[in-house]
């Protein structure tokens, strides 16, 4: 059932689908990119996608807690980026390389 209103009446679902698409884009980035820093960036993308759904749910349920959660997610994401980049810099100083193919030491 195709409804033209799908394009004109913007509702919760639109935002959720947008969030899903962004999330999976970020997931592809994490799975496929070899540069550790780009992987970190893809993770940020995923977190942003989740934030969109948080705020959309918050708005359509009239609950401000969604925004507070986003606030927290942003904080944690920034903290994660800080630590991740500090690690990346340490690794770069040591190996002159941030391609994760060179760090496959963690295996059984």
């Amino acid at each position: 059932m195709v409804n033209t209103n799908v394009f004109l009446e913007i509702g919760l679902n639109h935002y959720l689908v947008l969030s899903t698409v962004l999330f999976c884009l970020g997931m592809i980035g994490v799975l496929l990119r070899k540069n550790a820093i780009v992987m970190l960036m893809s993770i940020e993308l995923m977190l942003n996608a989740v934030n969109i759904s948080f705020i959309a749910f918050g708005k359509y349920n009239s609950n401000i807690d969604g925004q507070i959660m986003v606030f927290f997610v942003m904080t944690i994401a920034a903290a994660e980026a800080a630590v991740g980049l500090a690690l990346a810099v340490s690794i770069f100083k040591r190996f002159k390389e941030v391609n994760i193919r060179f760090f496959e030491h963690l295996k059984g």
């Binding site: 679902n13 884009l25 980035g29 893809s42 507070i68």
Partner: protein, 176 residues
């Protein structure tokens, strides 16, 4: 409603385009700049959802701080020439793409499936959000006060950890 719809589709397009560029551009600096663009677009999406303060914070924290850090670090590294940007192995690559695609499909399916329920594309309840930032502050400092303080401690710990990391002279594989 058409203006809102137009804005949404415009923003959705720019967001997704930015996301695609992040994943596909092989020069990490371009990828980072695309991500910054995506962040700004997401902030705009927040505005369409009437989360004004969070949108501002998204600009300040994500676009203005985190991504600047990414760009700075990439410039420090000078990683213009990437030997290989994408993972080797056609089979695993296909499986990975398939997994992501399946996940997207399943999630969208789930959203559409559940939309026949109560959370359909109905308009939001007309809540009297007189000043959403004040409400946000009120909730943050009453309901979520512990998380708030814990985050303060977390940030402190991370500051300490980052400084310690930047001092370290190498990994666990012996020292030069």
């Amino acid at each position: 409603m058409t203006a809102d719809a137009f804005l949404f589709w415009f923003l959705a397009l720019s967001t997704v385009a930015g996301g695609v560029m992040v994943v596909s551009l092989t020069n990490p600096i371009y990828a980072a700049l695309s991500l910054a663009f995506t962040m700004v677009s997401v902030a705009a999406v927040f505005v369409t959802l009437e989360a004004f303060f969070v949108a501002g914070v998204q600009l300040i924290v994500y676009a203005g701080a985190v991504m600047v850090l990414f760009v700075m670090v990439l410039m420090l590294f000078d990683l213009k020439h990437e030997v290989e940007s994408f993972a080797r192995g056609k089979v695993t690559g296909a499986i990975k793409l398939l997994a992501a695609g399946l996940l997207a499909g399943l999630l969208i399916g789930a959203i559409l499936y559940s939309s026949s329920g109560e959370l359909g594309s109905s308009a939001p309840q007309a809540a009297a959000q007189i000043d959403s930032t004040k409400t946000l502050g009120y909730r943050l400092f009453t309901q979520h006060i512990f998380a708030f303080e814990a985050l303060g401690v977390l940030l402190l710990v991370i500051a300490v950890g980052v400084v310690a990391l930047s001092r370290s002279k190498g990994g666990t594989h012996g020292k030069h």
